[in-house]
Point group: D3
Chain length 238, copies 6
C-alpha cells in the first residue's frame, strides 16, 4: 500500500525546526511536520503558581490552540465560544506533562516557563509536532535563563520528542498525515525521552480494538520515529 | 512490599456492581472499586446529534463528574466556577470512546445513549470504575430499547472493562487506590474488550520515564485485571 | 381522594436518614423521602469568607444540585451549560438560610461549614428533604469539630427540619410526591425549628390564588410534619 | 418606637406610579415606594417560548436587575461578572410568578409579555415595588395589544400588588425601608390579588425564628398594605 | 431637506442636564438629548486598580450599558447572555478615555471614580449624551471629594463634551436622532474639551467613503456643537 | 528628532505581503509592517448570518486576535479567560467595517467571507497591518469564488488600506512602531480606499488634546501612507 506522498511506512514527513521565529519570546520555534505547522513560544516568568510558592521549585506548563483556519474548514474561535473544548484541554495537558518529564524543578528555581503551541496549519500530528518543537523552544528559554543566572544548575535532565503511529488498512504507519489519521483503525501517540524511555503512550482503537501484537509493532515504530526526531532536535540545537 | 489493604500486587479491590440503583434511568449502576463509588446512569434518547442525522446510525456519549465532597478535601463545583476543567473533559472523552468501541451504530438506529458517570466517592481508579460500571448500565439501557423495538438487532458487539495499573517503588500493582496512585512513578489505564483486545492504553510517567520492559509488565497486569472485571460484569448481568 | 401510594393526607412518606454515607466528609447523610434521595455532605473549613474575617464568627453555606438523571428525563448539566439556573440558586440560598437559623456563629469560631446537597433521585420535596438531611450532617460535622476543640461551646442552638404541603383538588396534603406537586394549586414549603418556630414559609399559588383559611390549614399541616421530622432526626442522632 | 421617617407602623411610604415613562415600550411605569425607584417596561412579543408553541396560550416572564449605583456603595455589573447572582434570579422568578397569577393565558393568545424591572435607586422593598409597578405596565401593554386585536378577550383576570412587612424590635412594620430591613428579625413579602387572595407568601427569619402569632400579625399587616396598593393602582389606571 | 423635528441642520436637540438625580451616588446626572435619556452616576472609591497602586495617582473609568427596552424592540440583557457585546465595550472605552482627558491624576490622589452611564431610552447619540452628562456627574463627584479633602488640588483641568455629526442625503447634520443615524452615509463622533481642542474624533463611512471636504465640514459642525454643549454644561454647573 | 530605526517621519516601515501563506484558506496573507506580523486568512462560506437570509446579499466579517506571546510579555489567552476583551472587540469591528466599505454585497450573492487576523508578533500598528493584509486575502478569496462562479459580477468595488499616524514630541510620524506608539500624545488610525477617500478616521488624544492644525497634518500624513500601501497592495496582486 503506497502512501499519498510516496513515503515508506516507517518514514517521517520532512521535518523543519526553525529557531528564534519570534522576536519577543525567550525561546521560540516554528516546527513543521510536512503540512503541519506549529508555532511554539516559551515564556519565562520569575514566579510560580500559588500552590508551588516557597517550595524552591519551578514549574512548566503548556497551552495548545489552533487558529480558526488551520484546518480545511473554519472552526469557531474558543475565545468567541467562551470556553475551551475538551480536545484542546486534553492536548495542552499532554504537552505540559511531556515537557515536565525532562525537567529538574529544583535546578529551575522558583521560576515558570509557559509554552504556547499555536497550530498555524494542521495536517495530522499537531500534538506530536508541538511536543517536538516545544522541547527546542524550552532549551532556548533555559539558555536565556542560565545566561541571567536564574537557575542553579541545568534544569534539563533529558530531551523529549513525540510522534504518531497508526494502523491503516492493516499496515503500521509512522507519522500520519490528516487523511491517514482519518483512515486509521488504531492511532497511537508515543512520547519518548532522548535516552529512549517512554514518557507517555496513548493508544486508541478508532475503529476496531487491537491486539497485543499490533500494539508491539506500533511501539517499535514509534520508538524508531522518536529516535530520529531526537537526532533532528540535536542537529537543530548544535 | 505490602499494600495498605493487604492485597497482593495483582489483586483487584472488592468490586460491587449494583444494577437498577436509580428509578428513572433506562439503565443504572452503582459501581464500587473498594472505596471508589461511581453512579452510572444511561439515558436513552430517540434522536442523534445534528451531525449524525439522516445517517441511520446512533451515537453514544458520556459525561464524567465528581461531587464536591467525593474527595478528601472539598473541590469547588464546576457549575459554580462556570467551566469544566481539563481533567473532567479528558475523562468524559475517554469513557465515551471506550463504550463506543463495543457498539454497532447501525443496529442502534438513530438513537443516542448518554451515560452519566458521577463519582460519589473517590479513592483512585474513578475513570476505570466508571467505564466498567457504565458498560453494565449500557447493557440494561439497550435491553430497555430492544423491549420497545427501538433497535434493529443487537447494538452490543462486545463488552468493555477498564483497570488502572502502575509501578510503585519498582513493583507493578493492579487497581491502584488513591495513596498508591499518588506514589506511582508510572500510571497506566487499560481499557479492553471482553474478547481480550485493547480499546485504549494510556501510560504516563508521573515521576521518571519507563522502559519497554516495564510497559510490558503493566500491559500483562492490566489485561489480567480486565479479564477478571469482564467475568464480574458477566456474573452481574447473568 | 386517595393518594397514589395510599397515604393519608397528613402522612409523611417513609423517611430514611443514613448517617456516614461518605468516607471523607466530616458529616454526611443520605436522606430519603420516599423516592427522593439526597446526599448531604458537610465540609468543615478552618476559614471564613473574606467579608467575615476578623469577626471571630463562623459561617454556614449550602449548595444544591441535581444529577442529570435524577429526574424522569435527563437534564443538561449546569457545568456543561456554564451557568447555574435560577431554581438551583434559589434552593441553595433557602437551604443555607434555614441551617443558619440554628447556629450560634460565635460558638462556631472563625470556621465555615459548606453543606453540599446533591439530589441523586428526585420525586418531589427535594429541597425539604435536603434541609432535613443537611441538619443531621451538620450535627455530625459540628461533633467532629468539637472533638478537635475547634469550637468554643455548642454552635447548635436548635434543630431545623422542612416539609412541603400543598392543596391538590381542594385537599391539603403533606409531603407531596412529584405527581402531587405537579397537580397542586398551591404549594408551600415550611421550615421550622425543633422548638416549633418558623424559619421560613414560602407559599406559592401555582394555579389559582389561595385565601387565608387555606393558608392556615397548610401552616398547621406543615407544622405537624416538621414536628414528626424533628422526632425522626432525634431518633437518628440518638 | 418611632420610624425614621415618622410613619406609623402600618403606614406605606409615599407611593408614586408614573405611567408611560418610556417612549418605546408597550407599557412602562416608574414606580416609587419612598426612595425606592423601579423602572418597569412591558414588551409585547408575538411569539412564545419553544415549549409553549402550538398550545394557543401565551406567556409572561420578568427580569429584575439593579443599576450598579442604585445602592449606597457601587455593585459590580452582572454583565461584567458574566453571571447573574442568586438574588437576581430569585427575584426575577418571584415577579414572573406573581404576574402570571392574574393572567388568562388563553385570552392572551400565543403572545408573550416580558416585564423588565430595573431598579434605578434602592431603599428597601425593591421586589415589592417592582411587582406593584409591573402590574400597571402590564395593564398598559395588554391595552396596546387589545387595540391591535392581538387577544381574544381580556387576559387580565385580576390585579396583583405586593408589599414587605417585618418585625423590628418586636414591632410589626409595613413597607420597610432599607435601614428597617437590615434591622428586621423577621422579614416577609406578601403578594396578593386585588380580590384579596394570596399569590405568594415568603417569610424569613433573618435573626431568630418566629412563632405563629407573629406570622398572623404580619399576614394581616401585609394584607392591609396590599389592599391600599391595589387602591393606588386603580386610581392610577382610572 | 427638512429634519423630522423641524431643526436646522446645525441645531442641537433640546438638551437637559438634571443634577443629583440619584440619592446615593457622589455625582449623578440624568442627561437628555431629545428622546435619548442617559443616567450617569459617578462613584468615588478610595482605591485604585492594582497596576496603579503606589503611584500616587488616581484613575477614572466608565461603564456604558443599555436597559433592554431603551430601544424600539427589546434587546436581551448582556448579564443574561453572559457576555458583554463588542459595541458596549467600544463605547465604555470611549467614554473612559474622553473623561480622562480632562483629569489631572496626581491631583486626584490614589482614588478612583467609576462613571456608570446607563441608557434608559435611546434615540441616537447615546454615547455623546453619555460623555456630556458624565462630565457634569464627574464635577459633582470631585466637589464631593474636595469637601472631604480627598484631593490635593483640583483634578479637573478642563471640561469635555461630545456630539455626533453625519451626512444624510448630502447634507451635514448636527446631533443625529435615531432615524437620521440609520440613514447617514457618514457618521462621526466628536469629543472636545471646553477649551476647544479635540479629544477623540471617530468618523465612519456607513455607506460610501467620504472625502476630505466632507470631513472638514463635519469637523466644523462638531466643533460648534461641542462649544454649545460646553456652554450648557457651564450653565448647569453655575 | 531621529526615529529609532532611522526612518524619516513620513516613511513607512518595510512592508511585506506574502500571499498563499496557508494551504487551506481560500485567501491567506502574512503581512509584515516592520516587526509586526499578522496572519490574515479569508474563509468563504456559502451562507449568510440569519438576519441576512433571503436578501440575496452577502456579508463580510472579521475577527482579530493576538497570540499570547506576540508581545513583549505574555498575555493570558482570551479563550482561557473565557471572554473577549474590549480592545479585541473594538479592533475586530473596525476591520470588518473597513473591508465592507469596498464590497458590493449584491455581487457577492448570499455568501459570507470571514477574515481571521491573528497577530503572530506585535510591534505597533497591528490593526492597520491587519486591514492592509486582509484586503489582499479578500481579493484572493473573491477570485477563488469567481472561479467557481459563486458571484454574479465583481464584488470588489475598490481597495482598502490603513495606517497609523501620531504626534510624538511635537513631530507628526507615519506608521508608529510600539515604542513610538507608547510615547505618542495623539494617535490616529486612518483607513482609506484605493481611490483616496476615507473609510474610517479614529484620532485619540492619549496625553493632551490636539487642535485642528495637528489633526490636518495627521490626516495628510495618513492619506499619503495609505496611498503608498495601496501601491504595494497592487504590486503584490499584479
Amino acid at each position: 500500500m503506497a502512501r499519498a506522498d510516496g513515503r515508506s511506512p516507517d518514514q517521517l514527513r520532512p521535518v523543519t525546526i526553525t529557531r528564534d521565529w519570534l522576536a519577543h519570546a525567550e525561546g521560540s520555534v516554528l516546527v513543521e511536520f510536512g503540512g503541519t505547522k506549529v508555532l511554539c513560544a516559551a515564556s519565562v516568568q520569575d514566579s510560580v503558581p500559588r500552590w508551588r510558592r516557597g517550595s524552591g521549585q519551578g514549574w512548566i506548563t503548556a497551552e495548545y490552540a489552533m487558529l480558526p483556519r488551520a484546518t480545511n474548514t473554519r472552526n469557531d474561535r474558543e475565545s468567541v465560544r467562551g470556553k475551551i473544548g475538551g480536545r484542546t484541554h486534553e492536548i495542552s495537558r499532554l504537552i505540559g506533562r511531556s515537557l515536565r518529564a525532562c525537567v529538574d524543578y529544583k535546578a529551575l528555581g522558583e521560576n515558570s516557563i509557559v509554552i504556547d503551541c499555536d497550530v498555524l496549519q494542521a495536517d495530522g500530528g499537531t500534538r506530536t509536532a508541538a511536543i517536538t518543537g516545544a522541547y527546542v523552544a524550552l532549551v532556548d528559554a533555559v539558555a536565556w535563563m542560565r545566561k541571567r543566572k536564574m537557575c542553579g544548575g541545568d534544569p534539563l535532565v533529558d530531551s523529549v520528542a513525540a510522534v504518531s503511529v497508526g494502523i491503516v488498512g492493516s499496515t503500521a504507519l509512522l507519522d500520519l498525515c490528516y487523511t491517514e489519521d482519518v483512515a486509521a483503525e488504531t492511532d497511537m501517540n508515543v512520547v519518548m525521552t532522548g535516552s529512549g524511555e517512554f514518557v507517555e503512550v496513548q493508544g486508541t482503537a478508532e475503529g476496531k480494538p487491537f491486539d497485543r501484537a499490533a500494539l508491539d509493532v506500533l511501539l517499535d515504530l514509534g520508538a524508531a520515529g522518536c529516535a530520529e526526531l531526537t537526532r533532528l532536535q540535536r542537529e537543530t540545537l548544535a
